[in-house]
């Protein structure tokens, strides 16, 4: 269980900062639900990220580098749950060749350790091609069961696309949430 300890120790301050932000997001989710329209959704979940041995073919990962976008610890991935497109021929905000970008998605907020600002991140799935199978990550900060669909991450974002198959997930920065996130 050491991996869990390590992982979450590192994120303690971030979690504290995000907690009240999450409440705002949850409220927003309610607004949409009240309007009979649900906000888009999250990638697939799975076993904890420290178990890459669970799959054949997992490339070795540098654990813990918040500035390396092929590791689960990269700062934008604070709520990403799926295969990193950066390991699959895409980039941090580009789907791999031959796929298409999911039409629906959900948005998380992650702390950028380089400027200490919180960014709104859209986790788009890339769709229509056989699952990438590389660099599985699973982070659940702010994640909630599917009755709060807007902050649930155990469904396929590609469900809104005609190209329905799940391939991998990108983390697109939409904006800066606040100069200093919720204290």
């Amino acid at each position: 269980m050491q991996w869990l300890d390590d992982f979450f120790e590192r994120k303690t301050r971030e979690v504290a900062q995000l907690t009240s932000r999450r409440s705002a997001l949850l409220k927003f989710g309610k607004i949409l639900i009240g309007a009979g329209m649900l906000f888009p959704i999250l990638p697939f979940d799975r076993q904890p990220q420290a178990a890459p041995g669970g799959h054949g073919g997992q490339p070795p990962q540098d654990e813990g580098d918040v500035n390396k976008d092929t590791t689960c610890e990269y700062w934008r991935y604070c709520a990403l749950d799926g295969f990193l497109c950066t390991c699959c021929g895409g980039s941090i905000n580009e789907c791999p060749p031959g796929t298409e970008v999911s039409k629906v998605t959900w948005v998380g907020t992650c702390q950028n350790p380089n400027d200490n600002k919180a960014y709104l991140i859209s986790y788009n799935d890339c769709c229509g091609v056989t699952a990438c199978g590389r660099c599985m990550c699973n982070a659940n900060i702010g994640e909630r069961p599917a009755y709060r669909m807007g902050v649930h991450n155990d469904v396929n974002w590609c469900m809104g696309n005609k190209a329905n198959a799940y391939h991998c997930t990108v983390a697109v920065a939409l904006g800066i949430a606040e100069a200093r996130p919720h204290a």
Partner: protein, 385 residues
């Protein structure tokens, strides 16, 4: 150019070969390949759903003899298939998606019906292409207690529930359930289900004889989703459903009537546990055995925001009448728990780090029994025979 397609041609070829290789007749009786039968149904038979995310269009339900943790069979779940047994345990229902060309092409959704003893497919019931392409959490597919209707959770991403008539093997209708999730059927009647809503209330839908909605009613608030959300998994004794919250509250509601009635609430976390931030965790984080009134919860210390799916450090057992903890044992990284349906149950679990299955004895005391690793790739849900 058709090769040896018939059994007769094959047998003929074998005979040729045997003669060519100078077979001795001797005392040996040639074997015939056959198809094995499953062991007789047994309370320890496990149905384990595996999303196989690296090949997500090819998920699996592993069938395992829990007495020995021996693999006895499998059915294919397709693309994010959601499986559930019939009330009489004779059928397995799988709501799934097939794409015309494996990973591309037209999407077809259906409920596949398998015989749980032969594992052969019995029926394919077309449904709207909206089934929730979700992890197989308990409650995303369910049946009425008489087995007549099958309910399937949809997400487009808007939430609705598809009703299938098992008797006619036909799709019946789609019921909008905006902002709610999961299917919790009433148990004393066969025309009603409840779903959990994002505002903390419970929405109960009553059906007519044909399976179409005839009324719906919303409960008072069961929980505060902003402060202490409940897991989507539920367990029940007849119509008394139990819910578990992220911070360890056990909530209850009676779902038998037209409107859900909120019941008692207590916590699995004692004062001394709060210091270490013990919390539940997992995908199927608790199990409940009505006969012995035992609740088993997968727990981890140093819980934090985002740790609600973390593997168990310990499993805690509670008496649901006294609310006292009666046992705590090592958790073996369990993220899913289920008990067998027998007078003195056994407790089963999944360790996702090794795709392992776990068995615990519950009497005379809760005690780890056996582990076998390597059941597929991403098993996360257990249903017991």
């Amino acid at each position: 150019m058709q090769g040896l397609r018939s059994g007769a041609a094959w047998a003929a070829a074998i005979c040729l070969l045997m003669s060519a290789a100078d077979l001795m007749a001797g005392d040996f009786t040639p074997e015939q390949p056959r198809v094995a039968k499953l062991p007789a149904p047994d309370p320890a038979r496990m149905y384990v759903s595996d999303v196989a995310i690296s090949h997500i269009i090819d998920g699996r339900m592993h069938i395992v003899d829990g007495n020995t943790l021996k693999y006895v069979g499998v059915i294919g779940l397709g693309f994010t298939g959601l499986g559930r047994l019939s009330p009489d345990r004779r059928e397995i229902y799988v709501a799934t998606t097939y794409l015309a060309k494996l990973n591309r092409g037209t999407r077809t959704d259906e409920v596949d019906v398998y015989d749980s003893q032969t594992l052969k497919i019995k029926a394919e019931i077309a449904i709207p292409p909206k089934h929730a392409q979700a992890l197989p959490y308990k409650g995303v597919i369910a049946t009425t207690p008489d087995g007549r209707f099958i309910f399937v959770q949809n997400a487009t991403p808007a939430s609705s529930i598809t009703v299938v008539d098992r008797k006619s093997a036909q799709y019946v209708t789609e019921i909008p359930t905006p902002g709610c999730w999961g299917i919790l059927p009433a148990q004393r009647v066969s025309n009603r289900f409840t779903t959990v809503c994002g505002d903390g209330t419970l929405l109960t839908v009553t059906l007519d004889a044909a399976g179409k909605p005839s009324g719906e009613a919303r409960s008072v608030r069961l929980f505060d989703p902003d402060k202490n959300p409940v897991y989507s998994q539920t367990e029940n004794e007849v119509d008394e459903y139990l819910f578990l919250s992220f911070y360890g509250d056990v909530l209850s509601a009676n779902l038998g009537g037209e409107t859900a009635k909120i019941g008692e609430k207590w916590s699995v976390i004692g004062e001394s546990d709060k210091q270490a931030n013990w919390r539940p965790g997992g995908y199927q984080p608790f199990a409940f055995h009505p006969g012995t009134r035992r609740l088993y919860v997968a727990m981890h210390p140093r819980g934090k925001e985002g740790s609600h799916k973390d593997p168990a450090a310990e499993i805690w057992a509670f008496d649901t009448k006294t609310h006292q903890r009666v046992a705590r044992v090592p958790g073996n990284n369990a993220v899913a728990l289920a008990v067998s349906h027998e007078a003195i149950p056994r407790l089963f679990g999944i360790d996702p780090l090794s795709a392992g299955l776990l068995r615990y004895e519950t009497a005379p005391a809760l005690k780890f029994g056996q582990r076998v690793d390597g059941f597929g790739e991403d098993p996360i849900l257990i249903e017991m025979q």
